[in-house]
Subunit: 352 residues, 2 copies
DNA sequence: ACCACTAATGTACACGCGTACATTTTCGCA
DNA sequence: TGCGAAAATGTACGCGTGTACATTAGTGGT
């Protein structure tokens, strides 16, 4: 007798109304007599009725899903878990508030980008891309989205010359502040350990670094520019060379483009007899959790990752604040502020 | 003319076949003449047809989603991101391989547990719960799932007396190994900083600790048992008292139930003039990334979180290996092995 | 050439909801 | 009391697939 799950029809019968009325009551649509509403709700309650999300989505032509795409290589931790988990949290909490579910999709680097298909399959109503890198295939895939007018948003990565919706932080200012801070501590031979230029982040960091030096009459010294890949290991690998230069007094401070590289560097420097914070100032970027717990504590630049994730969702779902558009280029230019967090690794440093 | 997305009907018309044939070709169902298949595929290709996942899900009565539930408090990082991101990776990669999408759901602690509703709404076909804690409401919600025969799986948490499907690691052995290792280093006053007993993990850790002591003729000293909440801060907070006991020579080693507490403790001990690895041996648990980068490097117990996530998915989706059932209790008892990772924080230690 | 059987394809409908439109009820007001 | 308008409810159908069943085409054996 008791066959399968309860459906709208049974609720309608029990309440003595039509299916449409049940639907209207449950969706709060149209005028309903109070007594009818109560009868329907009671019937639904009594039968423990739960509408089928599948049927709803189909009827509404909306999945109710917010896609989140994360680049991923199993067991290889190129990215900071801090970085992603903060952004993801911001996305998740905000999406939930807006009544959306979060569809998480890992994307391996060699996998073909076909974001458009995701939308056309109606798996997601909107999509956020994390950790994208500049490249022709990526640009193509994103251009397609733009052209087909699918709602998407990049986080913390800009594609120069494209009008992709993006949530960014002001890394030029952040890097400027970090560099200026080091200069303020008396340093004038500031090495820069940057990440790959496929990330707009890297270009921005360099820009801020360069400007801060220029504003203080210091010229960029190509010999003390280094490149890693944002991994801890790459910081560690850069250590020997940087340690040598510190000993030769060709470097008196290091600005690392993220904390992970800074931490690898910190460890590596120490193994080469350099005491960070004493023999050379050190500052990282991201203000990850670990920065507070190293010895010496690591100066850094705090980036509102959580808020960036939340902002990306609001931009896509909520229709609160319209984007800030650059009148010249027509591009969206809002950037969340970052904040310098000076700690022991760059304070009380006396250059030789 | 070009109205909305391409549908099956148009593909059928272009290929000169019925809609059913298109469906059969695309799903690889039933016998199809090779020439027909080619015509259909070409038509689909030419029209750039993509089936509606919404309609497919509705027709199949399957969402194709694997739910993942994570306890969450915005901006409060009670849990290790390492822990979750590892498990999540294992889940994501395996689910993808099985053709499932991952529906990530944050659950705030005060939120009412209603996992059953999730299934009855057909939002997910199966579900994995992470970070659950023992408690009556949780048990009730899970019992409901069991009774309604929804496929779900817990990871790294056991509910004593319940037959919930679970993927666990052998933390009794791991803790035994950690404690025995400390004893092997010559320690016999081993403090234990455990987590809350709402986690079966904590009980298992204590069990292993206790057994290792017993097997070596050492009795448990209640005075050197401490409780934190697995956060770094709680380790830090326990530091003063533990530092005092070390100075009094009432403690010569500390086993912390996870790395985060061990790291907080490490920092705190040092601030109280105790040098971990010299004045007292220290070992953590989880073998998180940071363990390799502390000074001294932190001994720990490696837990295959990634594999646990993958195993949970296989258990739910793949039908490869049947569960290992305890013939007595009827409960599932498979536990993945863990591995002791001795490092400087507990090696070459000479007790006084 | 005929039959029996299988392969290949078509026809028809269910799935459970949202909602446009039709219909009935209610209600204010003359 | 009657009447028009608004409120409340019902009827009917579309959404795009998967698939059971009906139908037709093909094949091999006699």
């Amino acid at each position: 007798m008791e066959e399968g799950p309860i459906r709208r029809k049974e609720v309608a019968k029990l309440a003595g109304v039509s299916e449409a009325t049940v639907s209207r009551v449950l969706n709060g649509v149209g005028p309903i007599r109070e007594e009818t509403r109560k009868r329907v709700l009671e019937a639904a309650e009594q039968l423990n009725y739960v509408p089928s999300a599948l049927a709803q989505q189909f009827a509404r032509k909306k999945s109710g899903n917010l896609g989140v795409i994360i680049p991923f290589v199993p067991k290889v931790h190129l990215f900071s878990t801090y970085y992603f988990s903060e952004i993801l949290s911001g996305i998740g909490v905000t999406a939930k508030k807006e009544g959306y579910d979060m569809l998480l999709m890992f994307l391996s680097p060699e996998e073909k980008r076909n974001y458009s298909r995701l939308f056309r399959m109606q798996k997601v109503d909107a999509c956020i891309m994390l950790g994208t890198q500049d490249g022709e295939e990526e640009r193509q895939a994103l251009r397609e989205l733009l052209q087909e007018e699918h709602p998407f948003c990049l986080v913390n990565q800009r594609f120069e010359g494209e009008a992709f919706p993006t949530i960014e932080a002001d890394h030029v200012s952040g890097s400027y502040a970090a560099t200026a801070h080091l200069i303020g501590q008396g340093c004038d031979r500031i090495a820069f350990l940057n990440g790959p230029l496929t990330y707009s982040n890297s270009a921005d960091r360099y820009d801020g670094y360069r400007r801060a030096l220029a504003d203080n009459g210091i010229s960029v010294n190509q010999d003390i520019l280094f490149t890693g890949n944002y991994s801890r290991k790459s910081g560690y690998i850069a250590a020997p060379e940087i340690a040598g230069a510190i000993k030769d007094q060709r470097i008196d401070a290091v600005f690392a483009a993220n904390d992970r590289m800074a931490l690898g560097l910190l460890q590596g420097l120490r193994e080469h007899g350099i005491e960070p914070g004493r023999d050379a100032a050190l500052i990282g970027y991201d203000d990850s959790e670990e920065a507070r717990y190293t010895d010496p504590q690591l100066s850094s630049v705090s980036v509102p990752f959580y808020e960036m994730g939340a902002a990306a969702v609001s931009k896509l779902i909520g229709q609160e604040k319209p984007a800030i558009i650059d009148t010249e280029t027509g591009f969206n230019v809002e950037k969340l502020p970052v904040r310098l967090i000076p700690r022991a690794s760059s304070l009380r440093y006396k250059p030789n």
